[in-house]
Amino acid sequence: MKRMLFIISQPPYANSHNAELLEAAMVGAVFDGEVSILFRDDGVWGLMPNQHGELIGQKTFSKMLSALPTYEVDQLFACASSVEGRDLSITTSPEIGLLTTEQQAILIATQDVVIGAQR
């Protein structure tokens, strides 16, 4: 129905916002939305491999991510400069497209709704 972009801008684990946003994204896809997810700024820390949420009794965020394609959420993007600035190796599964800030501006401008103001 609608083009929906979810933006993740905080790291996982300190709070459960990211997990809650992924759940909303999956439901968006179930409802036939055209769903994309953009990781930017500290949100790109969620793309690190080898996470272990179970060590503090939480779900592992990277495992939730790799389940997204099963829910037909496969338009995943990250801010290239946020990744570079953090000298960070990001997960290859699911596949994440790196976008310049200009490309992000266009991604945002072409949505019906944008979801995910965090703090």
Binding site: L5, S9, Q10, R40, D41, T101, Q104, A105, I106, I108, A109, Q111, D112, V113, V114, A117, Q118, R119
Partner: protein, 85 residues
């Protein structure tokens, strides 16, 4: 054309990098603290949030608005994007 709601100063930075140059911005909440150091135009600030904080918008590039004008801007633009860090 998108409308950007900026809730604090870090949100302003994140927004500025990722908005199209003509997109309007509304500063609200702690976002009004950006009002004195703005780049570009088409920027509005929720006047009541500035008054609460003792911020004067007189020397600012931001246009003071009330909630009715806020609503009017959301009518004109889509999507409405919120920025807070």
């Amino acid at each position: 054309m998108s409308l950007h709601l900026v809730f604090n100063t870090a949100g302003y930075e994140a927004c500025l990098k990722r908005k199209l140059s003509d997109d309007p911005i509304i500063l609200l909440g702690d976002g009004v603290y950006c009002a004195t150091q703005l780049e570009g135009g088409n920027i509005h600030a929720l006047e009541i949030d500035a008054q609460v904080r003792g911020m004067s918008l007189a020397q600012s590039k931001a246009k003071p608005i009330d909630y009715d004008a806020f609503v009017a801007l959301t009518e004109l633009h889509s999507p409405v994007v919120s920025w807070a860090e």
